[in-house]
């Protein structure tokens, strides 16, 4: 099976090889990076703006195409043993780091065991079953696993698991190594300069292992703090590419009418963002699952998408996103109506014995809002209104990022929180952290802040993680979704569609499932 896939890829690579001569070389690609990244250390932070820059410099073992299929990058091929406990990567030969040193299997072993598994926010989870990496020669890395880990093969992109140079990190304090501000990778672009507050500049790697690539001579990521100015710069042609809503939806729908500007929602399926409400399931007014179900029933998801997010989004229909359809894990569930059902919500509350007082108020609560911009404030206003209709009287609270993080994930001083989560390419990577009892980790961000704990669910999650058989896995996750549609510690609102706005001069920039977090190696200016 894997051999077949390998040949298909070889073939498509050859096809690609013939077509590359049609593209134009040269030019400078200026794109928006918003906000300015804290560092370039993608091996210890998955921070969004780092992802916009670092995967141009570092590469992963794999990339994934827009259908989610594996594309071999630093790994020229791979095989998984029958028991699923040995994964062998045949690494590409002749690859060099930007400083001229050869890339070897030692780098892979060091990256996974000493960097990602220890310091990366999601690495300890992605590689949790890896006990050892054998390197019989300089271009073979054999991962020995405790249990099968099918999800691991979905987490090997340049963004999620960048391979870093051992000779720059070994023997240093990895958290503050010089590499963090001056990255050295194997990717199509070399780091040149980072002018704080202005831009980061990368230049073509002339010794890139994919001959003839990249086409573009120079890539500059610009930091422009004001959203309207970002739009103006796009309009003016000063920047050619703006991802992750750097140009806000409200402007994007206007700009896309122009001939020289296009908008795409491709390139976010591996990130898989879902807007949701987290509840304090342990104490306070929302500890009762009935009221959480009622809230899910009352909300008109389509209204939110159409009116607040300018039509970009898809109503959620389960705890898992429909992006898990191709892997068979997604199942449609009740209690997630697209249009909202006030009567059903009221009936749910009545039958749970949550009665209105003389003013029609059943519950008073504060809704915390994710402090990532105006859209979430407007979403909060809508929720306040619609939940008022079923007798849940809300007050809105909007704080700055550190205060909010501390409140939700450290102090647990909240009852209801509007947020969004990345479900990532596999539930084990992005969804388990939200529901498992072992994910109630005080002080850790973006995990189970609801403090929902259900042994039955824990059991299912544990077996789902190691199940290699696709059909059995489907069954397990169907049960998971049933439990979550009933208990709803988290109410999923809608699958978000982030926007990439780009100048039509720029071609070939959207070839990877990682989209903005991929390499620009095939991008060219027409």
């Amino acid at each position: 099976m894997f051999k077949q896939i390998k040949y298909i890829f070889l073939f498509s690579f050859m096809l690609f090889g013939f077509s590359i001569y049609a593209q134009k070389s040269g030019g400078t690609l200026v794109y928006l990076v918003q906000p300015e990244p804290p560092s370039m250390a993608s091996y210890i932070s998955t921070s969004g703006p780092i992802g916009l820059v670092a995967p141009k410099i570092y590469e992963g073992l794999f990339d994934y195409d827009n259908d989610g299929q594996i594309v071999h990058v630093l790994a020229a091929g791979h095989t998984v043993s029958n028991d699923g406990k040995t994964v062998t990567f045949n690494l590409r030969k002749g690859v060099k780091w930007h400083d001229g040193k050869p890339f070897t299997s030692d780098d892979v072993a060091f990256t996974v065991m000493n960097v990602l598994k220890k310091f990366h926010p999601r690495g300890p989870n992605s590689f949790r079953e890896v006990t050892r990496i054998d390197t019989p020669d300089s271009h073979t890395a054999i991962f020995k696993l405790r249990k099968p880990a099918p999800y691991m093969l979905r987490a090997l992109s340049a963004y999620e698991s960048p391979i870093v140079p051992k000779h720059h990190l070994e023997g240093t304090d990895i958290k503050s190594a010089k590499l963090g501000n001056k990255p050295v990778g194997t990717g199509p672009f070399k780091f040149v300069e980072w002018k704080k507050g202005q831009y980061v500049r990368l230049e073509k790697n002339k010794n890139y292992w994919r001959k003839g690539l990249p086409y573009i001579d120079r890539v500059v990521g610009r930091f422009v703090p004001d959203a309207s100015t970002r739009t103006a710069a796009m309009e003016n042609g000063e920047v050619l590419y703006a991802a992750y809503n750097a140009v806000p939806n409200i402007d994007a729908v206007r700009l896309k009418k122009r001939e020289d500007i296009s908008v795409t929602t491709d390139g976010y399926s591996m990130i898989n963002p879902v807007a949701l409400i987290e509840f304090n399931a342990k104490e306070g007014p929302f500890a009762n699952p009935a009221i959480r179900r009622a809230i899910s029933l009352a909300i008109d998801r389509q209204f939110m998408i159409d009116n607040i997010f300018f039509g970009y989004g898809k109503p959620a229909t389960s705890a898992l996103s429909t992006n898990f359809k191709p892997t068979g894990l997604y199942a449609s569930m009740p209690n997630y109506p697209a249009r909202g059902d006030i009567a059903a919500a009221k009936a749910e509350l009545d039958s749970a014995g949550i009665k209105p007082d003389v003013n029609g108020v059943r519950v008073r609560a504060i809704l915390d809002l994710i402090p990532y911009g105006e859209d979430y404030r407007r979403a909060g206003e809508y929720l306040k209104q619609v939940l008022g209709d079923i007798g849940i009287k809300l007050e809105l609270r909007y704080e700055d990022v550190p205060t909010w993080l501390k409140r939700i994930y450290h102090n647990y001083d909240f009852v209801m929180n509007l947020n969004y989560f990345y479900q990532l390419p596999d539930p084990v990577l992005g969804v388990h952290r939200h529901y498992g009892t072992d994910q109630i980790r005080k002080g850790t961000h973006f995990v189970n802040s609801s403090r929902y704990s259900n042994p039955e669910l824990d059991q299912l999650l544990a077996s789902g993680a190691i199940e290699a058989n696709a059909q059995k896995r489907t069954q397990i996750y169907k049960k998971v979704q049933e439990i979550l549609a009933r208990d709803m510690p988290v109410v999923n609102l809608f699958e978000m569609q982030f926007l990439t706005v780009y100048n039509t001069k720029l071609k070939g920039a959207n070839n990877s499932a990682l989209g903005p977090y991929s390499s620009f190696s095939e991008a060219y200016l027409d």
Binding site: V220, F223, P402, L405
Partner: protein
């Protein structure tokens, strides 16, 4: 004692007096900033997506955030006394480098704004006062009122819409053309080109202020007895205006300018943000949300030093403008 020795002594004394003030500012800022929930590690971990509590504890220990506040303060003060502004863990760079990097763009924007605002403010105020109750006065007063009342960010955005998008005269944002690699004189021209819109935007507000102040101040001086005397002894109106009234009317404007230099750093946050100008205001703004306290304290320190120095310069300018004012 001659005059310059006197001034020198005065400057030294004022500088010595400034030391306890600046120390007090540091201590106050330190506690004020530490009252905010969350710290730099929270923000870093939040941005990173997730981090284990052990990892966060390790980072806190490394940043020195695990120490009690008074200890942190003492460490900071010790650094300051040895002229070390500390280290920004977020940027993984010494604070001094970060600040110096951003100081020149700020200074550039500030100086050009002050020159433009004070220069034109004095001119317009003078014109309005000498043409009192004519159409010139009316036009200038209405102009001043409108620019004074218009929010800066809106002016900035309108400037971009009109002059960048529609007319294409100026770039929308940034400090230089990053794709062009200009050197020497070309670079100077390029930076000036980028500087025009932010300077005009930021000046408009202050321009309005100085115009109104200058006009009022001129009118007040015209009512003084010495003007009546000058007129009585037959001096031409021009001499009265430029030789006597203008000089006296300048004092309040200079005072105001001195006070506002400090505010300019803060007030430029909006303009820096709209035009993506890489100045100190934006750096301060970002470090506040990142809880990068070392960096923020460093910026505050530099700003307070700047205010002290500018006020000193203003005091010295006083005694040149009006010889009756003596420094002692």
């Amino acid at each position: 004692m001659n005059r310059s020795a006197k001034i020198l002594r005065y400057v030294i004394r004022r500088l010595i007096q400034a030391i306890p003030i600046i120390l007090a500012i540091i201590v106050l800022n330190f506690f004020l900033l530490n009252m905010a929930e969350g710290d730099a590690v929270d923000v870093l971990a939040g941005e990173a997506g997730s981090a284990t509590p052990e990892y966060m504890a390790e980072l806190r220990a490394k940043f020195g955030l695990d120490q009690p506040l008074p200890v942190q303060l003492l460490v900071y003060l010790k650094n300051i006394v040895s002229l070390d502004l500390g280290y920004s863990f977020r940027h993984d760079m010494p604070v001094s480098i970060l600040i110096v990097d951003r100081f020149w763009p700020t200074l550039l924007l500030m100086v050009s704004t002050i020159i433009l605002a004070i220069g034109f403010g004095i001119l317009l105020g003078l014109l309005a006062a000498t043409n009192l109750n004519t159409w010139k006065d009316a036009v200038i007063s209405v102009f001043a009122l409108i620019t004074y009342a218009t929010p800066l960010f809106w002016v900035g955005l309108m400037m971009i819409v009109v002059f960048s998008i529609n007319l294409r005269w100026f770039p929308t944002s940034g400090m230089e053309n990053i794709a062009a690699f200009y050197e020497g004189f070309d670079r100077f021209v390029d930076i000036t080109h980028h500087l025009v819109l932010p300077t005009i935007t930021l000046s408009l507000f202050y321009l309005a202020l100085y115009t109104r102040l200058m006009r009022a101040s001129m009118l007040e001086q015209y009512g003084q007895d010495y003007v009546v005397t000058a007129r009585a002894k037959g001096l031409p109106e021009r001499r009265i205006t430029f030789g006597h009234v203008l000089r006296n009317a300048l004092l309040p404007v200079v005072t105001m300018a001195g006070v506002q230099v400090g505010a300019l750093i803060g007030g430029s946050v909006i303009v820096e943000s709209v035009f993506a100008w890489p100045g100190l205001g934006m750096l301060a703004f970002e470090s506040l949300f990142a809880r990068d306290l070392n960096l923020l304290l460093g910026i505050f320190l530099i700003s307070s030093v700047l205010v002290v120095v500018v006020n000193l310069i203003v005091d010295i300018i006083y005694c040149f403008l009006d010889p009756r004012i003596e420094i002692s």
